[in-house]
């Protein structure tokens, strides 16, 4: 049971790997197609920009590989954004695994951009209510609420905190930086997706 943490050039690889270790899972940091395909779980950590993550996936021939993965995949923050059709960040075309677009927070809603800090996340279905908690966010771009939204939070308006389509789970927050709440969320990913 190996977890492939895809190296998209972001800087939080170490923290993500550490969080995975705390779940008693073995992980590798890689951008090798074969290793990503054969992993039991795949994580797209995503720090930087949607454009840089897409470029990195493209240059390692990982776009198709990720798209057709059947193992559980977790996209964190920008790793979640690239699962959508498109991101407003540098008008980046993304993988189109989940229908929808990523937009920039509107400062006219009397909010600071970027959103930085711990926000209350509410899961929508009874069986995952146990995951309701404060999670750590650091983002300027967000997903509105869609059919596949699993959990929401409020920042000037409601937005998607977690989304799931089949084996693809995306979270806008950083579970690796969200203390106990993050640990429970990762446990959910490894055991219940």
């Amino acid at each position: 049971m190996t977890v492939a943490i895809v190296d998209c050039g972001g800087a939080n690889l170490r923290s993500v790997q550490r969080a995975v270790e705390l779940q008693n899972m073995k992980s590798i940091i890689t951008n090798d197609k074969a290793k990503v395909s054969s992993a039991s779980y795949v994580i797209l950590p995503g720090v930087g920009s949607a454009n840089s993550v897409m470029q990195s996936l493209k240059s390692n021939n990982l776009l198709e590989t990720v798209k057709y993965l059947t193992s559980p995949v977790l996209g964190i923050c920008i790793g979640m954004h690239v699962l959508f059709d498109q991101s407003e960040e540098n008008n980046t075309e993304c993988m189109g695994i989940i229908s929808g677009n990523i937009k920039k927070f509107n400062p006219e809603l009397n909010i600071k951009v970027p959103q930085m800090g711990w926000n209350k996340v509410t899961f929508l279905q009874e069986q995952v209510k146990k995951l309701d908690d404060y999670y750590y966010f650091a983002n300027s771009y967000y997903s509105q609420i869609y059919n596949h939204t699993l959990a929401t939070a409020e920042y000037g308006q409601p937005f998607t905190a977690t989304i799931q389509k089949n084996n693809f789970l995306g979270c806008q927050f950083h579970p690796e930086k969200s203390s106990h709440a993050g640990k429970r969320f990762l446990n959910y990913f490894f055991n219940e997706i």
Binding site: P107, K112, N119, K120, H174, K183
Partner: protein, 255 residues
Amino acid sequence: MITKRIIPCLDVKNNKVVKGIQFKNHQIVGSIMNLAKKYSNDGADELVFYDISASTEGSIVNKNWVSKVADVIDIPFCVAGGIKTLEDARQILNLGADKISINTPALINPNLISQLSNEFGSQCVVIGMDIKFKDAEAYLFAKTGNEKTAYCTNKKAIDWLLQVQDLGAGEVVINAMGQDGVKTGYDLELLRSLERKCSIPIIASGGAGGPDDFIDVFKKTQVDGALAASIFHRNEFSVGQIKEALRANNVNVRL
């Protein structure tokens, strides 16, 4: 909605946590790892480490402890001190820090802010503003890690705030130097004068002496977080106690 953040600040010198008063007479208060773990367990929302030896002695922070901190805590943390280039920042972020904070190098080379922001995203880029009043006007100070090197720049706080926002900074720490370590409350007037023009998160620093100071700063200003050192280092109040007091006064905190 997003909660207000309580951020213990650890001044680091020669691999130990130290604390001075108004940036002078630093005394050792404990080990980096012990305090990092303690504050994280107490419910701190994030931690800030200022390597005060680095910014005044011209070296980048000794980086070994950064990765050790990343291994023992699971909340975000920011590292400041002597980060002058993109590569310095990359090193610190790769070791597990979530944000880097710069002060003097940004004043000397403001374009560094946009370079950092473009490379790592604005959420990684914090600008520390050390501010003191001169002729009733708030000015930026540089090289503040040591009283002998600290000097007043000709930049007014408000002008610099607008400039760093434009350049892509993701957050500012407003540090009222006159209030540092004296525990008489945050400089509410300074914060109010700056926050009106601020579209990015703003963190208050300098002057926290007790729960009332935190209640005041969150009730009377729009700041997103409050940073404090002495009251936590000396075990006068825990982060949890401060948050309980805030919640009792209807300030939205993570408990």
